[in-house]
């Protein structure tokens, strides 16, 4: 029996795994100590729990526990990495390279850097959402201090060639920061093999609690440092002050351990379900996949249904299926997703997209129901779409002079 609503928005956040919650509970009441209290058993218990979690987190990405800085999440991690490198390496240069499809936490931080006098290059992506490696290398200047390219995209799920990117950065003596929030815990991420210098990630995208994340900061070859963005007690090797969120960190550790053990099986199961969903939806006329289908997260699909508006489409089943759209009809600007537009998609296709994020608790039954609902709603809305009617009559929509607002 299907239970509603069905959750297919796992790129936004994931439900917490009950095993994670179980691990956290004692740290709210029984072991409530401050991990920085060095002189009594309450503090020791908290510190021990944090140390253990640090090992669990480090192990997932093949890092040393000392290289893990706990944060409040990936937005803080993105800020700390970019602003921290900009300040720490000011004597070396002031130029950062990023891409137009990055998360706002990276893009807006880079805008902030520009206001401070820094220089930022925003690389365009190819039609499949991947960056062009030759363009990246050409953008490197003597003053370049950081390349900031995400591991996997939150909207279309494409996975950037991080190994190749890090090789280019290394060749020119530039640090590589990656926002790993969508990738860590979903696909194998190995900071040594991938050559990553700094990486932000978050617990709530991998079945852990909200409000806790980590910044990986490399300690060897090269030893990387970031300037703290929050002043205080000098926690986390002086890079991030603030009393540690012990229960959150314990949950994050447990989530990382579960991911390490179950990631491979989850990925196989979810890619099968995703492919089933995608192939069925592509049976609908004029439906298109957005982004590279080969280099992509196993649980993500982004599909546009031409001549149907995304938000209107969601309304057809939003009581039973939780999904996200690239349309932005609710925003004042009416601008659709900047990520889809960066792929070169016309606004009409960008307005017509749905993002599917499957997760550990997604079932085949849920996918079957989703296929049926979406197919029905697309057909229903096309019956009332003037654009679909014109398309069917063979009218070129570009030949019409639209009243732009």
């Amino acid at each position: 029996m299907l239970k509603f609503p069905i959750y297919l928005d796992n790129n936004a956040t994931t439900p917490m795994d009950p095993r994670v919650l179980e691990a956290m509970i004692p740290y709210f009441t029984e072991h409530f100590g401050n991990a920085a209290s060095r002189n009594h058993p309450f503090g020791w218990a908290a510190e021990e729990a944090v140390d253990y979690a640090r090992e669990q987190v480090a192990k997932l990405i093949n890092a040393d526990p000392k290289e893990i800085i706990f944060t409040s999440g990936a937005t803080e991690g993105d800020n700390l990495a970019i602003k921290g490198v900009y300040e720490m390496y000011a004597s070396k240069g002031n130029h950062i390279i990023t891409a137009t499809t990055e998360h706002k936490a990276v893009l807006d931080t880079c805008k902030h850097i520009e206001k401070l006098g820094g220089e930022v290059t925003y690389l365009e992506v190819k039609a499949d959402g991947l960056i062009d490696l030759a363009e990246l290398e050409a953008a490197i200047r003597p003053t370049t201090i950081l390349v900031a390219i995400m591991y996997a995209n939150n909207e279309i799920g494409v996975v950037q060639p991080i190994k190749e990117i890090s090789a280019i950065a290394k060749k020119h003596g530039v640090l590589l920061f990656t926002d790993g929030v969508q990738a860590v815990g979903k696909i194998p991420v190995d900071v040594l093999a991938d050559g990553i210098d700094i990486m932000a990630f978050s617990a709530h995208k991998m079945y852990g609690p909200k409000g806790v994340g980590a910044l990986y900061v490399r300690r060897k070859n090269p030893r990387v440092k970031v300037t703290a963005q929050m002043d205080g007690g000098g926690h986390e090797r002086g890079m991030r002050s603030g009393t540690l969120n012990v229960p959150g960190i314990v949950g994050f550790g447990k989530a990382c351990e579960l991911a390490r053990l179950e990631l491979a099986d989850d990925a196989v199961r979810l890619s099968k379900l995703r492919d089933k969903l995608e192939n069925a939806l592509l049976q609908i006329e004029e439906a298109y996949v957005n982004g590279n289908q080969e280099h992509r997260l196993p649980h993500v699909a982004n599909i546009s249904f031409k001549h149907v508006e995304g938000e209107g489409l969601l309304m057809g089943f939003n009581k039973t299926i939780a999904l996200s759209s690239g349309s932005a009809c609710t925003s004042a600007s009416l601008e659709p997703s900047y990520v889809l537009k960066a792929l070169g998609l016309g606004d009409d296709l960008a307005h017509s997209s749905l993002r599917f994020g499957l997760g550990r608790f997604t079932t085949e039954e849920q996918v079957d129901y989703t296929i049926e609902q979406i197919t029905n709603t697309v057909n229903k809305l096309r019956d009332m779409s003037p654009l679909w009617e014109m398309y069917k009559e063979g009218i070129d929509l570009n030949s019409i002079e639209w009243a732009h607002h």
Binding site: H307, V308, E309, G310, E311, G312, M315, G316, S327, A328, C329, T330, S331, A332, L334, P336, G346, D347, D348, H351, D383, M384, S385, P386, L387, W388, E389, L397, I400, W402, A403, H404, H405
Partner: protein, 139 residues
């Protein structure tokens, strides 16, 4: 954002979806919005030439639920009105009836624009001058 019951009802059971013969002299067609903006409405009226009464109205809309509901409601209101009465339909009446939130007011403006465009199309076809309407400028 939650939708009002009325928006959901019009979305689930839209009234007067369809197409009238745009070549007919007694039919006025208004096509407003743009695919790039995520909203396109086509609203058509069938006018009784002798009485000036709108005997039928049809719409097709590409857009969100509020845009669909605004055009569906507009066609309901148009039927039985004279062309002159139809010109008096104000977008804020649609907003009130559908409980549209501020971010969705542009949907109602588009519906009002569609009504006026349909009326003008009918007027021009019948040798009357095109009316100039004040820009609402909300969208």
């Amino acid at each position: 954002m939650a939708y009002s019951e009325k928006v959901i009802d019009h979305y689930s059971n839209p009234k007067n979806v369809g197409t009238l013969d745009k070549g007919s002299k007694s039919v006025g067609t208004g096509l407003v919005g743009a695919p790039e903006c995520g909203d396109v409405m086509r609203l058509q009226i069938q006018v009784d030439d002798a009485t000036g009464v709108i005997t039928d109205a049809k719409f097709k809309t590409f857009g969100c639920g509020s845009a669909i509901a605004s055009s569906s409601l507009a066609t309901e209101w148009l039927k039985g009105k004279t062309v002159d009465q139809a010109m008096a339909i104000d977008n804020m009446d649609l907003v009130e009836e559908l409980n549209l939130p501020p971010v969705k007011i542009h949907c109602s403006v588009l519906a009002e624009d569609a009504i006026k465009a349909a009326i003008n199309d009918y007027r021009v076809k019948n040798g009357l001058e095109e009316l100039v309407f004040e820009e609402k400028g909300v969208h």
